[in-house]
């Protein structure tokens, strides 16, 4: 177990290093420069060339890319992600301030997905080929095919504009959370539902399920305890990996609902060519990916006794 986690940790560190280098590379291929975009957005007027020059000087944008990269790497080694050109605040602080909103949305979508997908996936598998199963399967396929930005707009139109049940934008309360959560959670729900059904079907054919029934175990326990627990291994893997995906899927949904999270800020920063923010955010998001994969690996070990007790496959 310890060896297993140590191995995963080493890999995670390696990936992080690679991600940092990749973040650099993104910067080097980017043309253009933040000064004018930021200055002109700030004042709705043409910044004078002298102002642009002084801005660039102040933020070290005149230095060659290589120097900027080495400076960034140096800062990074001290845990400093740099300063946003647009707001003048530390990038890490900008991320920290917005992450809760994004996490809230991602977590509630994940919770929605888990609450809906697991039971329906199980039902679908248990009642294989029934009408209910077919309906669930179709809905799941529809769910993965639905572009979430369109779904978001439809929900706003339907429940925000026409029915007026929910606010159409923004955050701050549970009613604000509902539409974005559905928007972001739908494809996740669909993916999870399909996976849950497939692994349930696989597990239900296993001999130990027959054993459990032969014991006289109630069907609810056969499914809920013996079968379900075995399906959790692949399901948890995907939940973990998809959680990180949710954090990125949030970018578009945050735009649709004007949700004040990291995705929204990232898109604004891209538009303003605020490099420190772009690099920093990409790196931090990659870090979350790696972290969530690591957590999945560890959780995996807890779920599967074969890994838990030392056998690394």
């Amino acid at each position: 177990m310890v060896k297993f986690i140590a191995g995963r940790l080493a890999l995670a560190v390696l990936i992080m290093l690679g991600s940092a280098i990749l973040s650099f590379s993104i910067l080097t291929l980017a043309p253009g420069n933040a000064a004018e975009a930021i200055l002109s957005a700030e004042r709705a007027d043409d910044p004078q060339l002298a102002e642009v020059e002084s801005f660039m000087e102040r933020h070290g944008l005149n230095n060659s890319r290589l120097i900027r990269l080495s400076q960034w790497l140096h800062m990074l080694s001290k845990g400093n992600f740099g300063i946003s050109l647009r707001t003048g605040e530390p990038v890490a602080e900008e991320f920290r301030a917005r992450f809760p909103a994004t996490f809230e949305l991602a977590a509630s979508s994940m919770a929605l997905a888990i609450i809906i997908a697991l039971p329906f996936g199980v039902i679908s598998a248990v009642k294989q080929n029934s009408i209910l199963d077919n309906v669930i399967r179709f809905v799941a396929l529809w769910g993965v095919s639905m572009p979430n930005f369109w779904l978001g707009l439809l929900l706003i139109l339907c429940f925000g504009v026409i029915l007026g049940w929910f606010p159409t934008y923004g955050s701050g309360s549970i009613v604000h959370l509902i539409l974005p959560t559905i928007t972001l959670g739908t494809s996740m729900t669909a993916i999870l539902m399909r996976l849950q059904r497939a692994s349930m079907l696989e597990v239900l054919n296993e001999n130990y399920i027959r054993t459990a029934r032969a014991k006289g175990l109630h069907e609810v326990l056969v499914i809920g305890k013996h079968a379900f627990k075995n399906t959790l291994i692949p399901v948890v893997t995907i939940i973990g990996m998809q959680f990180a995906h949710l954090l990125s899927g949030v970018v578009i949904v945050e735009q649709v609902f004007a949700w004040p999270g990291i995705g929204h800020f990232l898109v604004d920063s891209i538009n303003a060519r605020d490099y420190p923010v772009i690099q920093g955010f990409v790196l931090i998001i990659a870090f979350f990916f790696v972290l969530s994969n690591l957590i999945v690996d560890i959780l995996y070990a807890f779920l599967d006794p074969r890994i838990r007790y030392g056998r690394t496959q």
Partner: protein, 310 residues
Amino acid sequence: MSLLDIVNLNISFATRAGVVQASDEVSFKIRKGEALCLIGESGCGKSIVALGIMRLLPGNARISGKIFFNGRDLLSLHKKAMRKMRGRDIAMIFEQPAGCLNPVLSVGNQIAEAVKIHENCSGKISRQRAVDLMALVGIPCPCKRYSQYPYEFSGGMAQRVMIAMALASHPSLLIADEPTTSLDVTIQAQIIELLKNLVSQFNTSLLLITHDLGVAAQMCDSVVVMYAGGIIEKGRMSDVFKNPGHPYTQALLKAASGKEPASVKGSVPELTRLPDGCRFHPRCELSQDICRKIMPQMKKGVKCHIQKKT
């Protein structure tokens, strides 16, 4: 009175390839404390009959006939009542025990669960019972092994666990479906010995399903021989072994004794395309016209037109 009385049990499956008749008018009885052996080549429907008794057949199975257990017809029981009988009255162990244990639950937990299902007892008691059972079936250091997981058990040990689980509520009938087939020969003997002891100790009736005549002879009082879904011969073990009536039984015995290798020519017919008349006739050296046309009736425990029991 018999403990188990199976009358004209028919089991068929609807598959894409057609209807599979896995059990055709199967009838036999097991008395209390008796050990009966169901013999046949693989694919002849033995295990299906066993699963039919447990009512654990897959959803596409169709079942008819009567299975009386202690005088009650299992097939007409409510689902709930049937579930209660499983494990408590009728228990079952299977081939390839390793795959029959849930990999993510500890072994002891699975045994304790079997205890708990039918006896309303506390976790502590069921745990203690499970440890006792593990000791009973000869698992060394049961306390330590209790919390281990199935992958840490060898095949033989896993089968012992299965036996412990099956005997948890002292069922009156134990169905053992090829319990030793996948095990090493030395382990096989140990398991057979264990089963034999336990069955006599608890006065449990045994329905042993096997294709191994040696095992059958060691353990059982009576024997039922199945071929292609139907019974072709049944009787007391000693009678049948000494004086087999059906040509198929004869061939099986010869093969088992090793005197005539490959004494049964040809292969088991596909259950979707059974021959007319006696099902064994395409492979039977003695077959005559009547065998091809008319299905023989069971007479004096043998289902054959030609060979009759004397």
